[in-house]
C-alpha cells in the first residue's frame, strides 16, 4: 500500500469523503420517508414499522455514525482552514468523538 495512504490525514479524508457519499444517498430516502406523513400519521407509522427490523436498525446506526464522522472530520477541516489549527492528531480526536456519538446512539437504541 502506498505510504501516503496509510497516514492519518488520508484516512481522515477518506472517512470524510465516504461518509459524505453515504449521507448524500441516504438523504433523499430520509426525505421520502418523512413525507409519508402527508398521507397521515398512520402512513408514517406504517413506514416506521418497517424500520423495526434488525437490518434496518443496523443501517440507521450506520447512518448516524456516518453523520457523526462526517461532522467531526468536517470540523477538523474547518479548524485547519479557518482557524489556522496546526494539529495533526485532530483526525484521531475527531474519530474518537464520532465513536462516542456512535456508542451513545447504540445505547439509546437498546434503551428504546
Amino acid at each position: 500500500m502506498r505510504a501516503s495512504h496509510t497516514q492519518r490525514g488520508f484516512i481522515a479524508a477518506m472517512l470524510h469523503r465516504l461518509s459524505g457519499i453515504a449521507l448524500a444517498i441516504f438523504l433523499p430516502l430520509h426525505f421520502l420517508a418523512l413525507a409519508t406523513a402527508l398521507n397521515g400519521a398512520n402512513a408514517l407509522d406504517a413506514f416506521l414499522e418497517l424500520t423495526r427490523q434488525p437490518l434496518v436498525k443496523f443501517a440507521e446506526w450506520g447512518i448516524v455514525v456516518a453523520l457523526a464522522v462526517h461532522m467531526t472530520l468536517g470540523l477538523r477541516v474547518l479548524a485547519i482552514e479557518f482557524f489556522d489549527f496546526h494539529e495533526k492528531t485532530l483526525a484521531a480526536l475527531s474519530v474518537c468523538v464520532a465513536a462516542v456519538f456512535a456508542v451513545g446512539f447504540v445505547f439509546i437504541l437498546n434503551a428504546g
Binding site: L38, A41, D45, L78, F105, I108, G112
Partner: protein
C-alpha cells in the same frame, strides 16, 4: 473548485455543524423508548420554529452536498465540465424539493 463554490461549501458547513448537532441531540433524545409517528408529529405539527429550523437545514444541505459530490466525481471519474455542473444543480433542486416536501409533511 472556484472560490465562490468553496465559500458556499464552507459557509454551509458552519451552518450544518450547528444544525446537525441540534438534530443529532434531538434525535438521540427523542428515540428513547422507541419512535412513533405520533411522537414525531406531536412535536412538529404547527411548530413554526421547527419548520424554520429544518427549512434552513434543507437549504444548507442542498448547497453543501452537491458541491462535495462535484469534487469527488471530478477527481474519481472522467466526468467534468458543464454537464456535470448541470447534473449537480438538478440534484440540488431535487434535494430542495424533497426536503421542503418532508418539512411540510411533518408541519402541516
Amino acid at each position: 473548485m472556484s472560490p465562490l463554490l468553496f465559500m458556499a461549501q464552507r459557509l454551509t458547513a458552519f451552518v450544518l455543524a450547528l444544525a446537525v448537532s441540534a438534530h443529532l441531540a434531538t434525535i438521540l433524545y427523542a428515540v428513547r423508548g422507541g419512535l412513533s409517528a405520533g411522537e414525531i408529529l406531536a412535536r412538529t405539527h404547527g411548530n413554526v420554529a421547527f419548520m424554520l429550523f429544518y427549512g434552513v437545514f434543507v437549504v444548507a444541505v442542498a448547497i453543501h452536498a452537491p458541491i462535495g459530490l462535484r469534487s469527488i466525481i471530478r477527481e474519481w471519474t472522467p466526468w467534468r465540465g458543464r454537464t456535470l455542473d448541470l447534473a449537480l444543480v438538478l440534484f440540488s433542486l431535487f434535494l430542495l424539493a424533497l426536503g421542503f416536501r418532508a418539512v411540510y409533511a411533518v408541519y402541516a
